[in-house]
Subunit: 343 residues, 4 copies
Amino acid sequence: MCCNAEILKVAVVGAGYWGPNLVRCFSGHEHTSCEYLCDLDLEAAARVARRFPGVRTTSDFDAVLNDPNVDAVAIATPVSTHFDLTSRALRAGKHTLVEKPLSLTGNEGERLVSLAAEQDLRLMCDHTFCYTAVVRRMQEIVSQGELGDILYFDSVRVNLGLFQSDINVLWDLCPHDLSIIDFVLPEDMKPVAVAAQGIDAANTGFESVAHLTLHFEKPMMAHIHANWLAPVKVRTMLLGGTRKMLVWDDTNPAERLKIYDKGINVSSEDREKLLVSYRHGEARIPVLDNSEALMNMVGEFASSISERRAPLTDGHAGLRVLRSLEAADKSLTQGGLQIKLPT
Amino acid sequence: MCCNAEILKVAVVGAGYWGPNLVRCFSGHEHTSCEYLCDLDLEAAARVARRFPGVRTTSDFDAVLNDPNVDAVAIATPVSTHFDLTSRALRAGKHTLVEKPLSLTGNEGERLVSLAAEQDLRLMCDHTFCYTAVVRRMQEIVSQGELGDILYFDSVRVNLGLFQSDINVLWDLCPHDLSIIDFVLPEDMKPVAVAAQGIDAANTGFESVAHLTLHFEKPMMAHIHANWLAPVKVRTMLLGGTRKMLVWDDTNPAERLKIYDKGINVSSEDREKLLVSYRHGEARIPVLDNSEALMNMVGEFASSISERRAPLTDGHAGLRVLRSLEAADKSLTQGGLQIKLPT
Amino acid sequence: MCCNAEILKVAVVGAGYWGPNLVRCFSGHEHTSCEYLCDLDLEAAARVARRFPGVRTTSDFDAVLNDPNVDAVAIATPVSTHFDLTSRALRAGKHTLVEKPLSLTGNEGERLVSLAAEQDLRLMCDHTFCYTAVVRRMQEIVSQGELGDILYFDSVRVNLGLFQSDINVLWDLCPHDLSIIDFVLPEDMKPVAVAAQGIDAANTGFESVAHLTLHFEKPMMAHIHANWLAPVKVRTMLLGGTRKMLVWDDTNPAERLKIYDKGINVSSEDREKLLVSYRHGEARIPVLDNSEALMNMVGEFASSISERRAPLTDGHAGLRVLRSLEAADKSLTQGGLQIKLPT
Amino acid sequence: MCCNAEILKVAVVGAGYWGPNLVRCFSGHEHTSCEYLCDLDLEAAARVARRFPGVRTTSDFDAVLNDPNVDAVAIATPVSTHFDLTSRALRAGKHTLVEKPLSLTGNEGERLVSLAAEQDLRLMCDHTFCYTAVVRRMQEIVSQGELGDILYFDSVRVNLGLFQSDINVLWDLCPHDLSIIDFVLPEDMKPVAVAAQGIDAANTGFESVAHLTLHFEKPMMAHIHANWLAPVKVRTMLLGGTRKMLVWDDTNPAERLKIYDKGINVSSEDREKLLVSYRHGEARIPVLDNSEALMNMVGEFASSISERRAPLTDGHAGLRVLRSLEAADKSLTQGGLQIKLPT
């Protein structure tokens, strides 16, 4: 993607669950290099860095920021630290990639977006799923109008575990769905309200089973079922349009995506005499490439910097996801009432 | 089920979509006979009755009610006529079976239940699914405590069509789910509030995609996804308990029901140091008999009458389903707010 | 299919497992009527005929043959009686439909085919599967060249039961596969040899697990796995061609047929430096109509008679199936050796 | 498995497709180390070794054999070199692990087995599948008698590609199935004859679609369908016994193994009056651990050496697989005739 011969020099912050994947991809991508792995736990950083010769370890974030050799910073630390670390990185003049969710509150997210704009730096949110072959294909199919107008978006993301100890199931799982919905739907189709229902089924202090609904200007609805307590793993999205519909079943690698030439035609002068006819056409299973999503994401980060343009999943996208989560939490405390999103 | 040698003599009202099935079962069951098929459209009735020698056709409902030979009436007419026809049947001293939903409003339903009690007659709602082998097994599993305490109930009932011209998708599809949930959950576990979200995706004047949530006293939630506009047929229920969980996939006849020895154990003195462990045990696929649900339902109607006891899915059950639907409609108009159910 | 307004008058012989289905279809089809149901067990015939007013019952086959009102006879009796009954029907000037297999031996089958030709009568074998939407579609796909040259045909037909007491599993199940293969493959592509392996796993005196292989002039092979002792029901056909491939999974009604744009390209000047490239294109799931196969078969029988042409699955087709079965039995006794088929 | 604290020092030979996996496992296992990676192509070896500090590269096999520090050799080179390299390794006093198949001919294989016995060294064949959780569980189930007497074994291993340029599809794919069958069946149940049918569908000089049948003393049959030209990947085994049956579907990770309480009971004094009843009981899906098969294999190699006992998949097992392949080739040239195996 990046056509600039220069190599983007990156420092990864956080040697926990996700950081090592970032180190691997920034080290392995032809347009990037990983200069530092920074973590307060130097031993943890060392364990990771051992497999990647050339990656220095440090626990001194300021030193990283002061190194003029570092072009960009990738933040993979706990969410509660995102705002502080990202602010400092941007102020130090570094392009910044942040894990999702962008921050803890919409206000914080907004300040990060503004700061990046002021500094004329790239702020990107790592919505990894948007860089999978299947989501990119869905985005193409929708943008080319193959589905017609979108009528609904339904996502099921359930499994047994992993319970988080500091956030509810919506904050844990829905950033995936929300970022995919944000990416796949047309530019001019953003949610206007959010409602959520959930229960703290395991008595852990946080909802472990929940349903989130996005509402839009037009009669269109997106729904996400998130559940840490399901006996089976389900990763399914249904996307219905006026012309066609599609199903993404991520647990069926051989037939991940199916596009159905199915739909209805409503013909009636008045609604009393409603005449609905059903269209049952052929389904097709497209071929999807096997490129690694995270590697594609890293490439997009580098390209957006070298091309001086917003990355596909920029700070605004991260902020929209964040605001939906924030509204969902509010709805949970108000009996499932729809909460309006800021426009 | 019925041990009385006497034959219950039944008049079926309505020769539309479902009536013929009732005629077939009341004719075929060893403890019942079908005396009449009554419909304003005598020709329609005649077309059906031709295949069932001994079934008389008539368009005169009063004549049916006045025939002392008729023990019971089965109402399979449009919902808007249920209240009138059922009231008249009960007043004429006939035991009455009504298709679901019981009536149009909770008030009407309540009056039917009271009337049946006053007349000391059986009032039954045809919740056919409760007489399938799979639902009866689920009810046994739950009542025997195999799942432990129930944590959530999740149902997906989506397909392409059939659009109804006078009711929304909740009234069309959810009577199935609501009656099953009512039947499977323990006696003392009835919903206290209902919330619903939906859209009129096809611009037909009624919601065609909707989500209904039932809330209970304890932190337990039931959710139903009903959709007339899905490209694939899904009929799945997930039922999670503190000890085990189950999945019912009605589109997979060879493995309709699976019981998973899966769950979590939460051990923590304080929530800050939450320790969740996951239990992954064996799953089993029980054998289910192939008896016809509708025939079982007919047998239960006959047995309840001969044994002078409430049928499994009596008027109260029908009324509970009806009130949930009514509350869901109210919630739809109030932005998804939870609506309390009468206790 | 039949454009002649005349009604074909048929006598069905045999009131056992399949006969009632023939009575139903000959009674129900617009171009045929069922005049008689003939069985030595008059009570059995009467039990069936009760549901079909207008069908006379008799145990006198000669009387049926002597009735000038009867145009055609449909034989659904045990295989051992096929030759005698079919010969007599043809000699009496009746068009004849016979259940599969056509008879017990190739010689008998040949004599029936000759007799029909001499009498200028239609002899048809009830290869019901050839009248399903999926097999007709497969035949079209192959004949239109969409798959290219056929490379192999693989069929799995396994299940628990039903054990037959007088024939082995090949004679029980493979007439389906053999008739489908005969129907789907091009006219000029008939097997030249048959091999079979099998075991009498349940010690019943007949093979209950067996594999049958058909060989052709060109390097093409068809294989059938037939098994009465499998814990799961499998009904799958794989059909590979030089251009595309297809899979028919009859236990998956929503996706019964899939056509894969997959294959290989072999490019090499000499075989030492073999260069094989793989083509992975889109798959498609065509829409199939829901017409009943047996009703279509009855229609084809009537049409072939009114149009004075051979039916799609005529006596020759029945004879080819029979000869393959006969050769398979011979191969079973000779350690799986390939047995040549008569040309 | 290995209780000896000593570390087994291994040299891996062959840096092609499989060798790097062996290097990874011998490097990673707590009871082994990888001293050398030996390949004629030193650059290829270096590319692999880069990721494993401490592994020396060489193209000098003799130097490896002369290094007294090396306890064992693992051969992952083309089959045609197995005999030579393994002989030399054994003569040099090294325990030897060989990739499957053991060698090109039964005679060669026999000589390797004898040589290992003479030298009192461990000779092991890398039948990796025998170290998966699912195959070990199948072996336990069979050996504990849960299935009763084994009636048949049916394996389907089909996919698109990868075509081999020097061997047919049986030699490429069936070592998996043959080694599994050899491992799972009881000790006293070894095949006595082999038959095979196949075609060179792609005109590459080797069979690309083939069927292999193993016959046993008793009426029991194993069948393998191997196909490089299938549009879908199928990895299924059916195993039928007199008491229970099982299905292994390797493409369904969540339900890889199912055990069915299904079967038949044959009760008849004489075969004329065969009475077969069918038993349809519950199925169960056991939990399988996620340990890596190759790592388990490496552990067994080390344990067998430290415990001075034959490894689970020793040279004899490798030889039995080899002889079945050899007989299959012979059968292919003789029209599918059963070829007796040496006893």
